[in-house]
Symmetry: D3
Subunit: 125 residues, 6 copies
């Protein structure tokens, strides 16, 4: 299986619906970015052994939460967390754990996105 196939495969496990939306939106303006996301981010990196998909998604939402100005990407990967089997409780707990390292504002922003994702999936915490 080549990098592109491996990447598509993994992105579909993480968030198939979001993948479609992002790829469609990039199709006309910058299709090469889609290709790099699939080949590099998912085909090279997510495909590596050494961490479970659940660990990878935990690390991903932490990275996005801390970076800030990433609500679109958080939406994708909060769904991704749930899709690979993390519980809503583990997601919220990860956000809370970041408070001492990054402060309340970034965490509150992430919680707002989590709330929208949970609502869209009819999840109550």
């Amino acid at each position: 299986m080549d990098r592109l196939e491996k990447g598509k495969n993994l992105l579909n496990q993480v968030d198939a619906a979001a993948a479609d939306t992002v790829m469609t939106s990039l199709k006309d303006i910058a299709p090469d970015i889609s290709q790099y996301i699939l080949e590099f981010a998912f085909g090279d990196i997510y495909a590596r052994p050494g961490l479970t998909l659940q660990q990878r998604e935990l690390v991903t939402i932490t990275a996005l939460l801390v970076k800030g100005d990433t609500s679109n990407q958080l939406t994708v990967h909060l769904n991704g967390c749930l899709n690979v089997g993390l519980t809503p409780k583990e997601i919220i707990e990860t956000c809370i754990h970041c408070i001492p390292y990054i402060g309340f504002p970034r965490v509150l922003n992430a919680i707002t996105v989590a709330q929208q994702v949970f609502t869209s999936r009819h999840i109550t915490v």
Copy 2:
């Protein structure tokens, strides 16, 4: 057990040596910060159920790596990762996983700190 005791307990599990160093350095200039680290960061947050200590340390090094200008804190928590049972391989893999979200520079900085921590503990990857 009160918040302070709970916090001391947990910080000792994560990195007892570093705890001593940080607390000593703060003793004269800002001892209240030590207290907040123990009571709030460790006594309130680390003490929560919902994530294992290994998950918490994985999230912590991700947060520090992404934030940047945190090499002192990364030294503490890369040691913390090893102390709570994460493998050097999982640590390196976590750094690599962040490349697509944050780019190479922050990851290379974290790898440099990891190298120093591993060397100080006679670990070869």
Copy 3:
């Protein structure tokens, strides 16, 4: 008075209306964050002597402005600034003072939020 009471007391002085909104929005998804905001951010930190509430709010809006991606939190604390007696002129002046340290974009973003807050309170500068 315990930490929670002290915190509620202080948050009410800073921005009672915003407090309600934030706490309500966190009630179902992450009520513990509300508790930490009250107990730690306000009960421990704001309650300390050593700086006036006006100085604290000046420092707070600077921190939020510089951090970026904090428009919700800036709305709360620009109102907070006015509630503890800072003048609109001092607020604008604080934003302007940050230009050499952080550049124009973050300052322009903060001014946009300030404009909305001032309008909602029928303030003309």
Copy 4:
């Protein structure tokens, strides 16, 4: 020609329409910021020899893209890029070039703004 005149002149070359909007929005709340943008950012800095206007706009969109939480300013300067003669292809290529240094999320955010700017100018890439 004084700094203010030089600045107005240059901002008009970069993005006359946006200049009007920004200046109007600042007129009542913080007119001095408009003056500093004109005198310092454009009259002092853009007016310097040593880089072409095209190089300056390339550097500007990179700075804004990397900083994050700058979609308003990116809108101004993506238009500015086109106004000083950079091609849509060069703009997209600049965004793509930043992926290894800053990761995908900031680049995807910038591409979203570029898409809006290109659409508003009936540009197809």
Copy 5:
């Protein structure tokens, strides 16, 4: 008094020694940056009415602390704080106040710089 004179005047009040060091280091490689620091940062911005020099330095160290990777500039302005009459206690308190907004790591970094500045001035807190 022109902008340059006004700026020199104000920078001397804030930190005359540091001013010399910075200006000397820029003299051969980028003397124009010295000029902009004097004319714009100090001659235009610090010279404005509306905030006291003490308020300006409080805002400045907050901005630098939050931004990160600014230990050189923090050294200048922690000295500046003391030179314009802020007490060591107010400086430490400002750092502590930022914990809920930015987390512990940036605050600990600033405290380390404060410790060096206080030691160099034989100040004990």
Copy 6:
């Protein structure tokens, strides 16, 4: 020519000496990161048409300067700028151009690194 070969080729044009140092330092701890830098950052991205190598290095140092905590990477790419034919004057001018977008501190940090790079190459500006 495959991605790895293309990447090695390009990195050698940008900064052969630095490449060696980085790759050697990663060899034992995380050799896969070297591979990704060569294959993805240089083999995929730098190898693209659409921008000249000079434009790419201009964009790179801007990205690094704005991000902060990147002095090691700035050392590599300030050398890279010179290696692909940018002049010291263009480098300094790029730093100066960023002042209005990011403020003085990040620019002063970059100038400090530039000074070291220029000195090591016996360049006087």
